[in-house]
Each structure stands twice: as structure tokens, then as C-alpha cells.
């Protein structure tokens, strides 16, 4: 064969080889980018959970809040002496029990009406928002707000008891006060978005089921552990309401979920009733009583009524 023909043959072979190599190289590059088609975790969430369209896409910010229990006897004794139509006792400096001399009619369930009434009748009462109602126990539970509601915090509560006519008979109040600190660590922080909170609730906990609907998401504060002095650090937290019934909480900075706290109200009711049995301690002051004889009577009345609430509460549960 002529050298010219051999060259042609080689040219043909190398051409085929080069075309093959180029295809191989292209194939490899594409291989790494192709995925086996499967529903993404977002799609899985959107497929199974309803109500995601109503979530806000806003980028929220909120600071951590450093707070401690309000010591009524030290800072608010004047105000407590002037609260209308009620006799009160502060036990352990931080827990206020108050009883109306004449029951006060309870407004409808509008939050603004509660606030208006509480503003007049209860010390810093406008800072509390409605949380839950236990009809069979005649109990309304309100939680304190520092910009946002503070969830499941025994030191930021308002328990209101009504009689069978729906009038307020007495209440128990605890309160947190923000510590004034000039500390950079308490600057506003970027929070995870509402969608991310629901995403974490769905994927990281086993609590949502297919078909569940997210009915409300709003911001609040949560604290699980306090210093023994009562000082606590409140973490911004998303409250996610599911099917208008079940409450879930997701830390709005770190994204972890908080444990369910189903017995919170009855546990704290128990604790408050125990407080009443210790009303002769050093840190107890009565307000608006005419003489000391009335003290035992007031405590006894409060004790009996709250005990009834507690018994009904346990039955309901």
C-alpha cells in the first residue's frame, strides 16, 4: 500500500477515535449533574402539608431578651394598693393573687376588649394577650408580651377565673421585666423564615401528618431554663398552630423544636395553689385589707376557688 493511502487510513481512524473521546468527555460532565428524579424535600412538604401559601415571606428580626421576674412588693406596692375593687396578696414577691370584691363582667373574646378591661383592673394588664380558654374549669389563660407573646413561661402568666355567669372572680399574675443591658449580644438577630420553621417541624420532628394544615404562624419568645435567681434569656420562637388545635414551637434562630408541654397549665395551677398554702412566709404582703383577720379569710376563699378550677382542669384533661 502507498504511504499516502496509509496516512488517509490513519486520519480516518484518529478522526473516529477523537469523536468517540469527545463524546465520552461530554458524557462524563453531564453525568455528574444529572440526578435521579425524585421529589425534593420541599415538594414532599408542600404535597403533604396545607396552608403553606399563607406563610409570610418576610425576613424577620428580633433580639434575644434578658428578663427577670417582677418583684411586686419592692417596686409596685403603691400601684397594688390602688387597684380598683380588689384585695390582693403577693406571695414570694413574684406571684400576685387578687380577688374582686364585686365580680367583673368578662368581655367577649376580642383581644382589644380584654386589654382595655385589664388595663383598668390589672396592674400592667394591657401587656397580656389571650392564649387559651378552659370552659369547664372557668379558666382563661393569658400570656405576657414583651413585643411578642412569651410562651409556656410560669413567670409571665395571667390566670383568670370566672363564675358561672361569666364574670371574673379572681386572677393570678406573674410578670417578667426586661433587664436593661447595653449588650451587643442582645441586638436584633435575623430569624429563620416561617417556611423554614414549618420545614424543620415537618422534617426534623415526627409530629406532622399528611393532610395537616398550618393555620397560624406567629413570633413569640420561649425559655426552657433559667438561672436560679430567676433571670432568664428569652429566645425568639415561631409558634406554629396546626389544624387550629395543636401548638408547636420552633426556635427562630437555631431552628430546633421545643418539647410539647401539655400539662403546663395544670402543673402551674398546682404550683400556684401550693404557694397559697405558704402565704405566711417573709416575702408575702397583703394589699387593700382592713385588718389582719381578713388575711386568712381571703387566702381561704382564693384557695377553695382555685382548687375547684384545678379539679375541673384535671377532669377536662
Amino acid at each position: 500500500m502507498q504511504w499516502g493511502q496509509i496516512k488517509s487510513l490513519f486520519i480516518l481512524c484518529f478522526l473516529v477515535l477523537n469523536v468517540f473521546l469527545v463524546f465520552q468527555l461530554i458524557d462524563r460532565q453531564e453525568e455528574e449533574l444529572s440526578f435521579i428524579p425524585e421529589p425534593s424535600r420541599e415538594e414532599e412538604l408542600e404535597f403533604n402539608i396545607e396552608g403553606l401559601d399563607d406563610l409570610s415571606e418576610e425576613q424577620y428580626e428580633a433580639p434575644l431578651v434578658y428578663a427577670q421576674s417582677y418583684e411586686y412588693n419592692e417596686v409596685a406596692s403603691n400601684e397594688l394598693s390602688n387597684l380598683p375593687n380588689q384585695q390582693s396578696v403577693v406571695i414570694n414577691d413574684t406571684t400576685l393573687f387578687s380577688r374582686f370584691e364585686e365580680p367583673v363582667s368578662m368581655p367577649s373574646s376580642e383581644d382589644s376588649e380584654f386589654r382595655e378591661l385589664f388595663n383598668q383592673m390589672i396592674y400592667n394588664g394591657a401587656d397580656y394577650s389571650f392564649w387559651k380558654q378552659f370552659d369547664q374549669a372557668n379558666l382563661y389563660v393569658f400570656v405576657q408580651e414583651i413585643e411578642h407573646p412569651i410562651f409556656y413561661n410560669p413567670n409571665a402568666l395571667l390566670f383568670v377565673q370566672t363564675n358561672d355567669n361569666g364574670e371574673i372572680v379572681q386572677y393570678i399574675q406573674t410578670q417578667l421585666i426586661e433587664s436593661e443591658e447595653d449588650d451587643e449580644s442582645l441586638d436584633a438577630q435575623n430569624l429563620i423564615q416561617q417556611y423554614d420553621a414549618v420545614y424543620r417541624l415537618y422534617h426534623n420532628t415526627n409530629t406532622l401528618e399528611s393532610g395537616d394544615e398550618i393555620t397560624d404562624v406567629h413570633l413569640g419568645y420561649h425559655n426552657l431554663v433559667s438561672l436560679q435567681t430567676g433571670e432568664q434569656l428569652l429566645n425568639p420562637t415561631w409558634h406554629i398552630e396546626v389544624n387550629e388545635q395543636i401548638d408547636h414551637f420552633i426556635n427562630a434562630i437555631e431552628g430546633h423544636d421545643y418539647p410539647q408541654n401539655e400539662d403546663f397549665v395544670s402543673d402551674n395551677m398546682n404550683e400556684f395553689i401550693n404557694f397559697l398554702t405558704r402565704s405566711n412566709g417573709d416575702h408575702t404582703i397583703f394589699y387593700q385589707l382592713e385588718d389582719e383577720d381578713e388575711e386568712d379569710e381571703l387566702i381561704e376563699e382564693m384557695y377553695q376557688d382555685w382548687l375547684t378550677v384545678q379539679e375541673n382542669l384535671t377532669e377536662v384533661e
Binding site: K7, I11, T205, L227
Partner: protein, 449 residues
Amino acid sequence: MQTEHLKSVLLIALIVSSLLLTLALWNHQPDFEVVQTEDDLVDAQLEDGHRLTKRDVLSPTEFVFHTDQSLAPLALLNQEREQALFEQVQEISLYNFSVFNLNEEWWEDHDNRLEIMFPTTYSSAVIYDVFGIDADEQIPTASFNRIEIVLDHDGFQVVFRNDEDERVIGASMQNYSDEVEELEAFMSEEEVVSLDTIESSRGQTIYLPNEFDRDVLLFSYTEIPSEPFQSVLFTNPSVVRSGYTTEGYTNLVDGTRELIIQPEQISFTNLTNEQQSEEHELTHYELLDQVQNFINTHNGFAFEEPFHYFVSEVENNPNSSVVEYSMSYEGIPIFYNQEIASMSVAWHNQEVYQYERPLISLVDYRGVGRKASEVPSSEDVIDILESENYRGSAIYDVTLGYRVREQDGSQGQVYELVPSWYVKGVHGWHPLIIPSEYTGGDQRAMGAN
């Protein structure tokens, strides 16, 4: 001629390009960014801490040599030498793993064997780590707390067994006769003591040395700084607030996590991680692996040789997943006092839930303080275990170890290691409760647990 010239140029170009393309294919690497793992981001570490592999922390507590030349089983008099023996055992190459049943009678008929006992039960997956076995080798799934090296049997040369049942894993040894010779040579060079025996609640034999060193050893210590733990355990250490507990210990909180710093130990709890989710259920091996990584990430094993840490308990059930490491001195376990001698990690949902660890590390050996004459002999221990005090209690094993504590009158400057008997029951290892008639009125030595 012109065409031929062009063809030559074309051919050379094609040859060169095919070479280049081949090279490109050969060296082609995926061009993805490497995602930083969470471990890389954690930079806080203990300066004087160590990282340990699983092989480092899976250490036995007892070695028993059964031989037809001696009526009673034997152990090494010098317990430190057990470590060297175990290192020799770890070098053995194993293959051909299989699972079958062997009952107690079989063991009684086989007199020539080396029995190596571990403080707790492990899953068979750790055999890969302990013996450095290739991942290709299949090891059946089972659990074990003893390794038996059978010195005169052709079939089962190494057996991994559990005192809870008869199911065992057998394996063959490379160079069986050479390895056996080496082990026998090792034993023949060492001083040995004979062992007394008592039956465990599971019908197995428990061995107690009838001769042991009663020296109480003295040590100075160094403090482990607590500051790095704030960075390790809190996501945002700058928001952490501190106060004091009613006992006067420093207490740090960030609203969801709590760290209590005591003089000798710290205890941390992440309250959001209390409940275990079924989705995150781990195998025994995964639990051990993740906890080990967690401690290694912050160089958490703080000790000075010849002290060391070993895994003394692995609890893995739906309510609680805990790995506990205890300290050892020259391979001898120190189960108490736990504040100084043990680290424990409760691991829920692939994250730490609770972490307790000592804040001191024993360092310089300061000599022998005294003889612990109050430590009962093996005969007395058997009497105590058979007495009313232990009736109805589960006794799975008994071992001789050390108990560490502050030396009386040293104003916290010196710690002592006192030889102590430990009993393994339902809740792990606890000091033997010694009735006053055995201590000669000196109850200080080992109180009730």
C-alpha cells in the same frame, strides 16, 4: 505533493488532539465545591486533650488463662502487662467469621484458652475496629462481652461470646500455631496468680484474683479549663448568661441549654433534645461512633499516660442512649468516683442531650501512700456476695479496680487511687458494699454506693 503535505499535518494534529483528549478524560475530576461540615466549623478544643479511635477505647478489664496444667484459672499478677498482651492479641489476623451456638458444657471441656473480658457488651461491628479487619470481610451481627482464644481447637480458634446467651461468633486465625505459641510464650514469662471463682447470676463463672497489690497510689492533678466547653456546647456563646446555683456552682444558660460548672466536673443539658425521635434511632455501633466523634471534635479525652479512657457502658434503648467512658490506670479500671473518673454522653436525635465530664486530670505519680489493708481478700468477697447483703441482687461480674478520691487531709492537693472491688449489676459497675465486720471498723475505705 501539496495534498500529501496537508494530510501529514492533519494526521499529526489528530494524533496530538487524541492524546490530549485521552489525558483530559483521565484527569477529569468533578468540579463541585466541598461543603464545609459542621465539625470543621467548631474550632474550640481542649489544649491538652486527645483524640482517641474506637480501637483505643475498647479495652478489656480482665484476662483469664485456662490451662489443663493448672486446676484453677490463672491471671497475670502484674495487671499492667495485660495491656501488652491485648496489643499482641489485636495484631492477630482474623478471617472466616460465622455464627453458631456453644453452651457452657463445651467451654468446660476446653481447658486451654485465653478468656478476655470486657466491661460492657459491644455489637460485633466493633470487631472491625478492635482487630483492624478489612471492610470486605463479613462479620455476622451479634453482640459480645468476651473474646475467647481457644489454644487447642482446629475449628473455632477465636470466639466472640456474650454471657447473656449461647450465640457466639467464631473466626479463624492466620498462622494459628505461631500465634498460639507466642501467646503461650508470653504467659510462661509472666508471673501469674490463681483465681477464685463464683457463679454469676447468668450462670457464668466470675474470676477473682486471690493475690493482689494493695498499694494506695498518690497523684497530683491539673485543672482542665472550663471555658472551651462554653464554645463547644453553646451555639452562640456571646449570649450566654451566668449565675450561681444554690450550691454555689457556676451556672450558664442560653434559654435552652444549661451548663453547671463544679470544681471537679461539668454537666451540660440541652433541654430541647430530651425526647428521642424514633426516626433518629441508631444502632449500637452508630451511637458509639457519633459520641466518639463528638468528643474527638473538641479533643475531649483529657488524660496523661498511663491513665486512659475506655468505654464502660453503652445503653441504647428508645428512652435513653448513653455512652459512658471510664478512666483506667495502667489498664486497671477506675469506676468511682464518677465525677473524676468518668465521662458520659447522652446522645439523642444525633446530637448531645447531656454531657458530664471531669474538670481535673491526674498527672504526676507521687508514690505509695499506704497499704489498703481494709480491702477484703477474694475469699471474703465471695462470702460477702453470698451473704444476705447481695441476696436477690443481680451479679454479672466482679473485678478488681481502683477508686479515685481526694486524699484526706491533703486539702485537695493530692488524689489517691485505692484498690477496690467492683460488682457489675443491672445498672453497671458499682463498688462492692462491704459489711463493717470485713473492714475492721474502717468503713472509710469503701462506703455503700
